[in-house]
Amino acid sequence: MKKVLLSLVLSGAAWAGAGAAPVKAIVVLGSGVNSSQQTVDLRGYSNGQVWYGPSDVSRFGFHPRDITRITFDTREDIDEKLVEELRVKRSYNEIIAHLEEGLAPFKEYDFLPSNLSSYQYMLAELYYKVGQYEKSLVYSRMLANPDRDPAWPARCDEKIERGAYAYQGLALMELKRTEEAEALFALRGWTKDMSDDALAEDLYITAKFLTMKEDYAAAIELAAKVVVFSSDDPQWLRPAEVLCAQLYANLGLFDSSEEVIREILLMYPNTDEADEADRLMAEMDALRDAWNIMMEEKESKN
């Protein structure tokens, strides 16, 4: 194992972050049998070092590359129960405000692998839900950055990283940053043929991508796979159902679209997806008329 670099810094040296309140944390260094763990007062990040120690003048540094995981005590800053309650009420802006405030004391360390990643992921998701795609991107990139130095430990577990990439792709598409989206798709291999066993988020995001490209039939085939094969994954199942409803309408299969909407309203009442389904249902007559006009025009051209 790589020897953990600990450096003692003499008092009086120039360093940034002096004066910030120390943050108690459990730091895990290294991995496997050679890993070690220590509870420390973190004193900021500067000059490529994460500083810790009894005071700002007598302190030691970790190189971030050596930190496998940090566990912060967030109990006083983030009220999990409140977050859960607000989620049930779908008060997303309030959750965002609460999390932003709660994460503020740890901001200096938000690029490190830590137990903050689940909150950061939540923020990527929630900012996406409320339509603040730029901010969603900030958080998703914090967790999943294709330019990350592979020598550094992963920022979060694989599941969160996958989800973060998915929100990155979704946000880029919403922002119409097509080139960046396409580059990300190529990097993640999302544009390749999707088998039945592909992960729900991969199927879903590729379906969204194909929708953006107006290849509706290919898109709905993937969204349908999420519905049929990932019915135990509510995070992607529900949006996939909504996407199916939308795509059926785009393909002129309005009866099918209405049926999907009815099922969404039945199965997922009081959810964002039910709201979206309601909105789509309200547009259905207009969509149908537009489709009929389009078909008439097409027929006349033929």
Partner: protein, 990 residues
């Protein structure tokens, strides 16, 4: 099944403390001699043993205390005795000696005081779990629950007990509330999870679907979804619901199926759980009852795993069912259906070339494999069906053709071959893709009749029937009759024996349509026989009135004299009198009118024309469509024309216009009105009537008579001898064109432009055609007049895309137009270029059916012959070429190509002598045709024939003759036949 109860220890602790008041201390590990000890000392010893959880050693001292004190009557002694009884009972429970424990609790309940009565009752209830006496549990637990002083712990424990008891008694409804209470209040995850599973199962069993789905959403993150029994229950519940049908049941079945986890996942989870329990059992400091409890759980898990292992593989079946539900008519989520079916197919289908090995196996594994194959086959078939519902026709047909070819190449019939054919043929029939249907004929013919399997036999008969319909629709009437005839006269098996028990439901239709097929071939006698047979055999058939009508038509066609038409007249009269609601009654009136109009006045019938006019009048009145009325209106006008009754013509046309309003062919009516004026020499009135009709109806593309009027009016203007009148009329056309343009009446403007171009001559017409092709992209502004020019221009330019687009639009919108043959010519030209020969046959059939052997469609017969030739059907091609030479309207224009074609097709059949004859006729009789191309080709063909006959020298002389042919080698024709001359030269050099 038994569960820990919360609060038990707390009660016992209290009891232990109470004893301590008068207990001493027990010393050493060895059991003391209780006979020499005081009660207090024995008590103290028991307390110590309990504190150490050494239950086995606590039995004797506790029993000793009870024995010492039970006969005493003091309050303290009584109380201590009772408490010792309860404690000893608890000890027995801990040691797994429940019977002894129960006896002590019963003793406790029979004596006083009973300060811990609720605990005693609870212990009784729990004990009944051992004996599986659910009624007793319910009885005891209910007594505790009704106690107003019941503690929260009691309430929790009793709900847990009652819930379980009801559950085990399979009183599902009753079990739900107590189990829900226990689940909400459990602080032990294991208990909570068990409760979740039981609630889910009870909700399935009570078919309480909405609550079940809400429940599953609530607990979906817990391990309860891995419970094997619950999964099996959900699956069985889903199967029941699916079988019941109806949308709600289907949806509920779908949600249940979707929750079922794969076998491997369930087994793996249960194995892990078993290992965990096993670790606990092997661990330290477990009480016997705990060990027993864990062992029981392991046993249950083993039983579930075994049950699961004994089941047939269900994942594929579940996926198939999910697909079927999604793709059902009620749900219509075909994409979801498709992906489920495709997965089943990908997982289970075994290709034809790997199937042999399996067929030879005869063991259990083979049975399982067979089931898997069936599911895979069904998956593939349903996937194709779903794709059709999604309008993904190419993908559907790719799958089907892959399957058909795979089994065709293997020389066997695939399990779903007939179903695939029915699917593809049915779908193409609905989409009027008759060529595609016909192209599948070889696959149908390859199927056995399968006398042993009625379903397969029925499928084959249906395929013949549908094939017959496709031939009928494409006017390939002889083939249609052949297909219908396969089972109309009795379905034969492979050896030619009639399958006697075969009763094909569509036979009546097949009989009728075969009659139609004969009729359309002009085989009226055969057609009449079929219609009469239909009427004899199917008195209540759906097509009785139509069969009567067709019978009349055949009788009429078979009549050689007016007198012979009596039978037909009677048949039409019978239909008119007896089928008032018939859709063909109007046509029967028209036909009877036609019969009467041809009659001479007699004594019995002095006014046949009047009677005919009455019939035409009735035909218009009873017409169901504008077209049904147009025919008698025109026939009536023609009849009146014979009697020069011009006002009556005008009145008849007005009647027709009034009956159908804007739906009528108003321009056609105006045409006749104009004609009536012309016959009365009221040229000005006629001109005005035509101009009025064009102006009023010309902006409606579907008013086909406008185009006819335009042609008529152009003739009228050109025949006007008075130059100033003619010029003023031409000027009027220009003004009308300006009006139409300023009013943005695009369709009308194009029609006026056409009129103007026709009046200005050929050059102007050519410029107008070019203008149309280069500027008109939106075909909705066109009508048959401009469109025919566009079709012709596209053909001349060789623009395949435009040929196809214009033709498709024309044919689908104006099939009734007299000019539609231009569109068919464009379509056929494109199809020939694209080598779509089957489609050419379909198009030719359609145009010939519309127009018959008129000069305008001679090209169609040439195309048909050439397409047959390209398809390798030389004999049929030869016949088709010969038809040209036998039809006077075609012969003149196409004789050269036809003779040469006959020669070529005979050559292909190896009939060199005959071919030579036809080639000779070509270059001798048809030199002038098409700049001598056919003659040149015929010279070369003749030389080939001679070479084949071993007459090389003569072949040489034929070629020399060709080179010397002054007509062919003239300056005028040289550019057209240069390549043939070159070929001849090359051959001569050899």
């Amino acid at each position: 099944m038994r569960f820990f109860q919360r609060g038990c220890i707390r009660s016992v602790s209290f009891f232990v403390v109470a004893l301590f008041v008068f207990c001493g201390t027990a010393n050493g590990q060895k059991a003391p001699n209780f006979d020499t000890m005081s009660v207090t000392e024995i008590y103290e010893y028991a307390r110590q043993m309990l504190e150490r959880r050494d239950y086995a050693r606590a039995v004797e001292p506790l029993q000793a205390v009870i024995d010492e004190l039970k006969a005493l009557t003091g309050d303290n002694e009584k109380q201590t005795t009772q408490e010792c009884r309860l404690e000893l009972a608890r000890v027995y429970y801990q040691l797994g000696q429940t019977d002894e424990g129960v006896a002590l609790v019963e003793e406790y309940m029979e004596n006083d005081p009973r300060p811990n009565e609720r605990l005693a009752l609870r212990m009784m209830a729990q004990a009944f779990f051992e004996t599986e006496d659910w009624d007793k549990i319910i009885e005891y637990a209910s007594r505790i629950r009704s106690d107003p002083e019941m503690t929260p712990d009691d309430e929790y424990n009793m709900n847990l007990l009652i819930g379980q008891a009801y559950f085990l008694k399979e009183m599902w409804e009753e079990s739900i509330d107590p189990l829900l209470y226990a689940e909400r209040n459990a602080d032990d995850d294991r208990v909570r999870q068990k409760c979740q599973i039981m609630v889910a199962r009870a909700l399935v069993e009570t078919e309480n679907w909405s609550n079940l789905f809400a429940w599953v959403r609530r607990v979906e993150s817990s391990d309860c979804r891995y419970d094997i029994t619950l999964n099996i229950t959900m699956m069985l519940g889903a199967e029941g619901l699916y079988a019941s049908g109806g949308k709600d049941n289907l949806l509920n079945a779908l949600y249940l199926y979707r929750m079922v986890l794969p076998r491997e996942e369930l087994i793996s989870f249960s194995e892990k759980k078993k290992a965990e329990l096993q670790r606990k059992i092997n661990g330290v400091e477990l009480q016997p009852f705990e060990i027993k409890e864990y062992e029981r759980e392991v046993e249950n898990l083993d039983a579930s795993i075994e049950q699961l292992n004994n089941m047939d593989p269900y994942e594929d079946h579940v996926d198939l069912s999910i697909g079927e539900i999604y793709a059902s008519e009620e749900i219509k989520r075909y994409w979801e259906g498709y992906v489920a079916f495709k997965r089943v197919f990908d997982r289970c289908y075994i290709p034809a070339d790997e199937r042999e090995e399996f067929d030879e196996e005869e063991d259990e594994a083979a049975e399982a494999k067979e089931l898997k194959i069936k599911i895979g086959e069904a998956g593939g078939y349903y996937a194709a069906a779903a794709l059709y519902n999604l309008n993904e026709f190419d993908r559907a047909e790719q799958r089907i053709m892959d399957y058909l070819n795979e089994w065709n190449n293997a020389g066997r019939e695939g399990m779903f071959q007939r179903e695939y054919l029915l699917l593809m043929i049915g779908n193409n029939l609905n989409r009027s893709n008759f060529g595609a249907v016909i192209s599948l004929r070889k696959y149908i013919e390859g199927l056995e009749i399968s006398a042993a399997d009625p379903n397969k036999r029925m499928a084959k008969a249906n395929l013949y029937y549908m094939l017959g319909l496709a031939y009928l629709q494409t006017q390939q009437n002889a083939e249609a009759c052949e297909q219908f005839g396969v089972f109309v006269d009795g379905l034969c098996d492979e050896s030619g024996y009639v399958v006697e028990d075969f009763d094909f439901p569509n036979r009546s239709y097949a009989l009728y349509y075969r009659g139609m097929g004969y009729m359309l071939q002009g085989k009226f006698a055969e057609a009449l026989s079929d219609f009469e047979q239909y009427l004899d055999e199917y008195e209540e058939g759906d097509l009785v009135d139509e069969a009567i009508f067709r019978k009349g038509v055949c009788q009429y066609a078979l009549s050689e004299t007016v007198e012979d038409t009596k039978g037909a007249e009677e048949t039409f009269t019978y239909l008119i009198d007896n089928y008032e609601q018939s859709s063909v009654r109007s046509e029967a009136y028209s036909m009877r009118g036609d019969i009467r109009v041809a009659k001479e006045p007699t004594e019995k019938g002095p006014h046949p024309l009047d009677l005919a006019q009455e019939d035409y009048d009735a035909a218009i009145k009873t017409s169901n469509t504008p077209l049904q009325a147009l025919y008698p209106a025109k026939r009536s006008a023609e009849a009146y024309q014979l009697e020069s009754k011009w006002d009556e013509i005008i009145a008849r046309m007005e009647q027709y216009k009034a009956k159908w309003g804007v739906q009528a062919d108003l321009a056609e009516a105006q045409y006749w009105i104009g004609q009536a004026y012309l016959r009365q020499d009221e040229v000005e009135k006629a001109f005005n009537a035509y101009m009025g009709a064009i102006a009023d109806y010309g902006n409606f593309p579907g008013q086909l008579g406008v185009d006819k009027i335009i042609m008529e009016m152009v003739g009228l203007v050109e025949s006007q001898k008075d130059a100033s009148t003619r010029n003023s009329w031409i000027q009027l056309v220009r003004l009308k064109l300006d009006d139409a343009r300023s009013a943005n009446m695009e369709v009308l403007a194009l029609r006026w432009q056409l009129t103007r171009a026709l009046l200005q001559g050929e050059e102007s017409l050519k410029s107008f055609s070019d203008l149309l092709v280069s500027t008109v992209n939106d075909l909705t502004v066109t009508s048959p007049g401009p469109l025919y020019l566009m079709c012709d221009a596209a053909v001349e330019a060789g623009d395949l895309e435009k040929m196809t687009n214009y033709a498709n639009y024309f044919i689908s919108n104006f099939e009734e137009s007299d000019l539609v043959w231009h569109a068919y010519r464009a379509r056929v030209t494109a199809q020939m270029e694209l080598k779509q020969y089957e489609d050419v046959l379909v198009s030719v059939g359609a145009v010939q059916n519309l127009f018959g052997p008129v000069p305008e469609v001679g090209w169609s017969q040439i195309s048909k012959a050439n397409a047959l030739d390209q398809l390798g059907r030389s004999q049929e091609a030869e016949e088709a070429f010969k038809t040209i030479s036998s039809v006077p309207q075609w012969r003149n224009e196409y004789m050269g190509e036809a003779y040469c074609g006959i020669g070529r097709t005979l050559f292909q059949q190896g009939e060199f002598a005959q071919a030579l004859g036809w080639y000779k006729r070509t270059y001798m009789q048809c030199k002038a045709y098409d700049n001598g191309i056919w003659a040149a080709m015929a010279y070369l063909g003749a030389a080939d024939c001679l070479v084949e006959q071993g007459e090389s020298a003569q072949a040489q002389s034929i070629l020399q003759e060709m080179m010397a042919d002054q007509y062919l080698n003239s300056e005028e024709r040289a550019p057209f036949i240069a390549e043939y001359i070159q070929k001849a030269e090359q051959r001569l050099q050899k």
